[in-house]
Amino acid sequence: MNKTANYLSANFDVIKPDSVDEYVKQGGYNSLKKAISMTPEAVISEVKKAKLLGRGGAGYPAGSKWEHLLEVEEEPKYIVCNGDEGEPGTFKDKILLEKNPLGVIEGMTIAGYVFKAKAGYIYIRGEYRAIQKEIFEKALEDARAKGYLGKNICGTGFDYDIHIMTGAGAYVCGENSALLNSIEGKSGRPRIKPPHLAEVGLFLMPTLVNNVESFANIPLILELGGENYLNIGTNESGGTKLVCLSGHIKNKGVYEVPFGVTLREIIYDEEMGGGLADNRKLKFFHMGGQSGPIGVENQLDTPYCYRELRNNGLSVGSGAIVVADDSISIIDYLIQVTEFFIHESCGKCTPCREGNTRILEILKRFANKEASPEDMDNLNNLINLLTEASFCGLGRAATIALKSGLKLFKNEFEAGLKK
C-alpha cells in the first residue's frame, strides 16, 4: 500500500485551479455527467458503498445523511458547503479551495442534481477572503460561463447555482446549525436539535450540510465507483484523508493519505512529517483539532482510520495532527487549548461559557504548583459538566484534550499540587 495518495490532490499545482477547460482536460466534470445519467438513488448508493465519513470532524456517514434528505419531501432543498475551517492546526480545506476549487464545486453540483436543489451555498471563513476573491470566485464564474452552473446545466434542464457566503471570525460557526444561522446573516449561535437540518435547515427548508473535503470526494466516488473508492482505504473508512501536520514537526503541511497508514508513518516518514524538528523527542500529538484527544508514543502504531483511532482513544476529527516535543509542559499546552475555547465560546450556555473559565483558573494553579487536591476533583467535575450539559458540540468537546492529558500525564498534574 502506498503511504501517500494522489486523488484529492491530483490537480494540485498541475492545473490552473480556476480554469474549467484545464479541469475538464484532467477528466473534471465527467462525474457530474455520469451523475446526471443516473437516478438520485443510484448516486447515493455509490456514496454509501464508498463509506465516505464526513470530513469536517464528526465523521458522520455521508451516505446516510444524503439518504435521509432524499426521503424528505418538502422543497426547495438547499446544499450547503461548510468551509468555516477553524479547528486550530487544520488548513486542508484552505488548500482544497485554493488548489482544487472545481472539485468542490463539482461535488456541490452533483449534490444539487441529486436533491433537485436550485441553490447551493458555500460558507468560506473570513480569514480565507484572499483565496475566495482571487481563486474561488473566478472558478465559480468560469463554471457558469462554461455551462456547468446556472440555467440548463449540460443541456439537461437542471438549473442550479452556487453562492459564496463569507464568515467573519467565529469558530462556533463550524457547527452546522450555527453556520446556517450565519448564512442567514445572523449571529452564528447553534440551534437546538431536533429538528434535524435535513428537515429544518437553511431558511427553515431541508438542507444538506457537508464539509469542503467531503464534497471534493464526491466526484472521485462517482469516477471510481463506490467500491473502488472504499478499497483505497480500510473496510470501514473509505478513500483518503488530507492530514495537516503542524507544531514541532520537520515538514509542516497537508498530506493526502489512504486510510490505514499508521500515525508513525505520517509523523516520521520523510515524504510526510519527516519526524520532529531538530530531532527532538516526541512528547505528545494532538489529533483532530483543539477539540480532539491527545496521544503519546505508544499509540503511534495505530492505523489512521476512524475505527482504529476511536478504539485507541484517538480520533480523525478535522485531520489535524499537532505534534509537540518534550520542551512544553502538558499543563501549559492545555492552558493554550482552554484559552482558545474561552475565546471561541459563543456564550449561549453556562457550562461552556463559565466552565472553561474555571478550568483555566484551576490549570493556572497547577502551572504555579499551587493546586489543591480539591482542584483535581473540580477539574474532573468540570469535564463531566461540560461534556454532559453544554448546548452544542463546541462545549461538549472542549474538554476532550484535557481529559486525555490528565490520564496520560498524571505525574505532571501531581507535580502541580501544593506541597
Partner: protein
Amino acid sequence: MNQNNMNSEQVRKITEMYSQVLSIINKYGKSKEQLLAILLDIQEISGTSSVDLAWAEIVAKELDIPVSKVSEVLSFYAMFSTKERGKHVIEVCNSSPCRLNGSDDILNLFEKELNINVGETTEDKVFTLIKTSCIGACDISPAAKIGDKFYGNLNLEKIKQIIKEYRGDHCE
C-alpha cells in the same frame, strides 16, 4: 458625527464614505443574507479598520433590518470592531500550532517594535496589534495576518520588514 462642528474636509470625507457604503450595499443587491460580507467590505474601506455605528445604521436602514441586529452581528464576530483601530490590523495567531513555534515571542517582538501593547494602536494610527485564533497558516507558523495577507515563519527581521513595508505604504 456632530454635523455642527464639521469642516468642509470632514463633510467631504463623510459624503464620500456614505456613497461608498451605499455602493457596497448595492453591490450585494441589498441582500440581508450578505450582511457579514457588506460589513467586512465597509470595515475594509473605513481607513480605521472599524465599522462606525453610524454606518451600521445606514446598513440596517438599507437592508430593512433592526439596528440592534446589525450591532449584535458586529459584536459577535471576532473580525469586526466598532472601535476605531489602526489603518492596518496586525493579527498574530495565538492558537497552539503557532504557540508551539514561538508565537508568544513574536507577539512580544511586535509589541517592542511598535512600542505598544497587544490590543493597542500606534500613535500614528497605522497599526493595531491583536491576537487571533488559528488563521489556518500552521504550515508557516508562527504566522500573522494583515488584512487578507498572510505572513509566516516570522522572526525579528521579517517583523521589521513588514512594519517598514506598511509604514511606507501609508506615507504614499
